[in-house]
Symmetry: C2
Subunit: 132 residues, 2 copies
């Protein structure tokens, strides 16, 4: 998997790294149980601070995306990612609320907004083939 960071973005580097790993899992480029580079190796590879990688990994661990073993290293959660529960769904709606409020103010229609969502879902489901 190829990590691409934008050092000019307002989005913190650890957040970008975290999002790309989650996107890799969503696209099944990273599979359950698959190994990820150690904090040290990834930091050296992409030329960023150890603490930045560590922060991304710790959050991914907390949210159930990866496991960090002292010996086996970092792996994508072999039991699969914890599925959405009621809390997650409520959090998602809370996150979508201001995005949609602002879109309404700025004249983006429901159709257009949903079109963008569908395009992104398609991006994650490409290459799934039979699974779909």
């Amino acid at each position: 998997m190829y990590i691409k960071l934008d050092f000019e973005s307002n989005e913190p580097i650890y957040t970008q790294l975290k999002h790309q790993i989650i996107a890799g899992i969503a696209k099944t480029e990273l599979k359950a149980g698959e190994g990820l580079p150690s904090v040290r190796a990834l930091a050296a590879d992409i030329g960023i601070n150890l603490h930045t990688v560590n922060k991304a990994y710790q959050q991914l661990k907390q949210e159930g995306f990866i496991l960090i073993h002292r010996q086996k290293g970092v792996v994508v959660n072999p039991d699969g990612i914890p599925q959405a529960d009621e809390d997650y769904r409520n959090g998602l709606k809370t996150t979508l609320h201001p995005l949609i409020a602002e879109s309404v103010c700025r004249g983006i229609s429901e159709q257009e907004f949903i079109h963008y969502c569908s395009q992104l879902f398609m991006e994650f489901h490409e290459g799934e083939g039979e699974k779909k």
Copy 2:
């Protein structure tokens, strides 16, 4: 318009305040040219710090939602909210990307995700009546 803040939330108070004002505009509870309380009055009303209200108002001003006149006070942008341009649309897709990646990982279907979006659009368009 009634402001409701959650002091136990992880979301900063100024962000909550900003989102509620944007939601008020989206719902047309706050109309173009309508006056908002001064920083001082709003801070006193809801019992929060002046700087918190100021931060929310400054961001709302920068993003074109309100104008802050030294004499006339704070008003919802009388020319209407700047409509979405290409940059705004790209930013929206960039914001939706990780939300959808995580939803895919956690087993939320496109249908379910879009259902939440539609519900929220409905919330903002209720009471619009003839405008719809």
